[in-house]
């Protein structure tokens, strides 16, 4: 028996509902139907009255979660796709994110965003929106890349007193499996060295961690290069200690992300490393993102729009031969 990434998300919600009476789930088609991706399968039956179908009203979904959180509950809102959170954008960045600073009253809510691209999903079912939410003060933004992180970070997200944007990658849902969920005790805000190395550091998050590892494997075979892969785990807070320590070891940095190229996590990572660890760098840092167009529908275009092991290897070779 193995656990998929989406199972882990489901199981975490089950545990939360079981252990914490303050938790309830709200989202489109999440009750009897179990959600568009089955991340809440069976939970409505197991926890009557605590898994509620919402109307197609993303703005009000978040407004209502803020209200419930003010009253001490711990709502988890499922957006059907991250892309639809654009409708809730105002309630997230202005209502939820400012509340603690303005009033001193925390709003512990978790928004689950099924994020990232899959073949054929097109411009409106593929977006990675972490950078938008990380830009605004008052939000925690997490991006689990492993089955166990998907589980533990959802528990941790709900335990935090702040609004958390939980970006779960749709490509990993069923593709990523683990024999079991194990706890390695890393809290939100700590990055992980997924693959140790010494010649260059790739800082990645979410699905791109796996592409980075693939690229690292190739370069190992190809030339014996040892590439270190850092999984940020949360993009806000950003664990600069781990990132800088890695760059100190390798002297070389590639920041890798699946989001659009202007701004975003890779810009933040590269600029922080340059500001805080300029002297650690033995070569100019590099960035690799998706292209500056909407995420295309056709699988062939899609595969060329996002970073792949091939394009990651190209960047890494530049870095290694500088």
């Amino acid at each position: 028996m193995s656990v998929t990434y989406v199972d882990a998300i489901r199981d975490a919600q089950e545990k939360l509902l079981r252990d914490d009476p303050r938790v309830f789930l709200y989202g489109q088609d999440i009750s009897q139907f179990g959600g568009a991706f089955k991340a809440t399968k069976g939970l409505a039956e197991a926890f009557p009255g605590r898994v509620l179908d919402s109307p197609i009203s993303e703005d009000a979904m978040i407004g209502m979660a803020v209200g419930a959180a003010i009253e001490g509950l711990r709502p988890i809102v499922e957006m059907q796709f991250a892309d639809f959170s654009s409708i809730a954008f105002n309630q997230i960045v202005n209502q939820a994110a400012t509340h603690f600073y303005r009033t001193g009253v925390p709003v512990p809510l978790t928004v689950r965003l099924p994020s990232g691209g899959t073949p054929g999903s097109g411009p409106f079912h593929s977006q990675s929106m972490e950078a938008l939410y990380a830009h605004y003060p008052g939000l925690i933004v997490v991006t689990p890349a492993t089955v166990s992180d998907a589980y533990h970070m959802l528990l941790d997200a709900v335990a935090l007193d702040d609004p958390v944007i939980y970006c779960e990658h749709k490509f990993l849902y069923r593709w990523l499996k683990a024999p079991r969920i194990n706890g390695d005790g890393l809290p939100i805000g700590k990055a992980r060295i997924t693959r140790p190395g010494k010649h260059a550091t790739v800082v990645a998050y979410s699905a791109m961690v796996h592409e980075a590892v693939r690229a690292a494997d190739r370069l190992k075979e190809e030339g014996g290069w040892e590439i270190e892969v850092v999984d940020l785990r949360s993009v806000k807070p950003l664990d600069m200690d781990t990132v800088l320590a890695s760059v100190a070891r390798t002297g070389r940095l590639l920041a890798l992300g699946e989001a659009f190229p202007w701004g975003g996590v890779t810009a933040e990572v590269v600029s922080r490393v340059c500001v805080e660890g300029f002297h650690l760098l033995d070569a100019p840092p590099l960035r690799l993102n998706s292209r500056d167009t909407p995420v295309p529908y056709h699988p062939k275009l899609w595969a060329a729009h996002r970073p792949t092991p091939e394009t990651i290897c190209i960047e890494l070779r530049k870095l290694l031969t500088f």
Binding site: D29, F84, I87, Y297, P299, K300, A304
Partner: protein
């Protein structure tokens, strides 16, 4: 209607055979509503912003079948060049805007097209139309858009295809009014109600709404009662739809009703309909075959820029 049904069932089998990537969304059971709208509009003059269940309306409005198959099958020769897929296609310069996924957002876009016609002095006799589902009425975008249409008193027809479900969500989790028609008055638009399984009724009521809008009677809202006869998409079996609903009046297949109405009313004989079927099936096969043999987009040829005015790095 018939053409759209045949086209869509082909799409469904292509999807099930793994020939279509992404989603396939059908309008099965909603053809009478959609086609009535499409047929009441004039291509080249009117504006029609279809949603996910409007293959019949598109066909009736005159969208070419190739636009459909090319987009579904990812031909680079299609109107979206493989950049967008399935029902997200359109030809905006020909009065057929290409929907984004976010529900409710077509209403204000059509409003803007009509406002432009007015400012250009090209409004005379023009109608704009869009369809939404029961679920889409819960969006803020629908509300803001329809309210704006009413304020501007635009010649627009908004069809609400109330098919009792939004994906799996039944209407009692979507709204609490007795009938979505009750909303018309609150916006200050005219309201019409119709049995969406009854082709003749649809054609009459929707046709009249279009005529009213065209003649200057302001915005019209038509609420059609019906049932989706497929899953939400072809990945979904729709097992949450209770059998009682399926067995009732709403569950009637509008195509069967229409066939009966046509033969009984003497509009067309049974063999004529059979002939159409063969003809349309051939047309569908041809459109699919052509799209299938056409090239997919090539990432190396693709122009990777989203702005027209700058082709370089931003």
């Amino acid at each position: 209607m018939l053409k759209a049904r045949l086209l869509e069932s082909k799409l469904s089998s292509l999807y099930k055979a793994g020939k279509i990537v992404g989603g396939v969304y059908l309008g099965k059971g909603q053809e009478a509503v959609s086609a009535s709208l499409g047929a009441s509009l004039v291509r080249g003059r009117d504006i029609f912003a279809p949603l996910i269940r409007d293959q019949a309306g598109r066909t009736a409005f005159g969208e070419s079948m190739l636009d459909c198959t090319r987009t579904y099958l990812g031909s680079v020769l299609g109107p979206m060049k493989g950049r967008d897929g399935n029902i997200h296609r359109g030809r905006p310069l020909e009065g057929l805007p290409a929907m984004i996924s976010h529900l409710g957002t077509t209403v204000s876009v059509v409003a803007g097209m009509l406002v432009a016609r007015r400012l250009k002095g090209e409004m005379a006799g023009v109608v704009g139309a869009t369809c939404v589902g029961d679920g889409a009425t819960s969006t803020g975008s629908f509300h803001e858009g329809l309210n704006m249409v009413a304020i501007e008193n635009l010649p627009m027809v908004v069809i609400v295809a109330n098919n009792q479900f939004a994906y799996s969500t039944p209407t009692d989790r979507q709204y609490a009014c007795e009938d979505l028609l009750d909303r018309a008055k609150g916006y200050g638009v005219a309201g019409h109600s119709v049995d969406g399984t009854d082709m003749l009724a649809c054609s009459k009521v929707i046709g009249r709404a279009v005529t009213l809008a065209r003649e200057g009677a302001g915005p019209q809202m038509v609420v059609a009662r019906l049932l989706r006869l497929s899953g939400h998409g072809e990945h979904d079996d729709g097992s949450y739809v209770p059998n009682t609903l399926r067995a009732g009046n709403l569950g009637r297949d509008c195509l069967e009703v229409a066939t009966a109405q046509m033969t009984e009313g003497g509009y067309a004989g049974a063999d004529e309909i059979e002939r159409w079927k063969t003809e349309f099936t051939d047309e569908v096969q041809a459109a699919v075959a052509q799209a299938q043999q056409e090239p997919a987009p090539d990432p190396w040829d693709e122009e990777w820029f989203a702005c027209k005015s700058t082709t370089g790095r931003l």
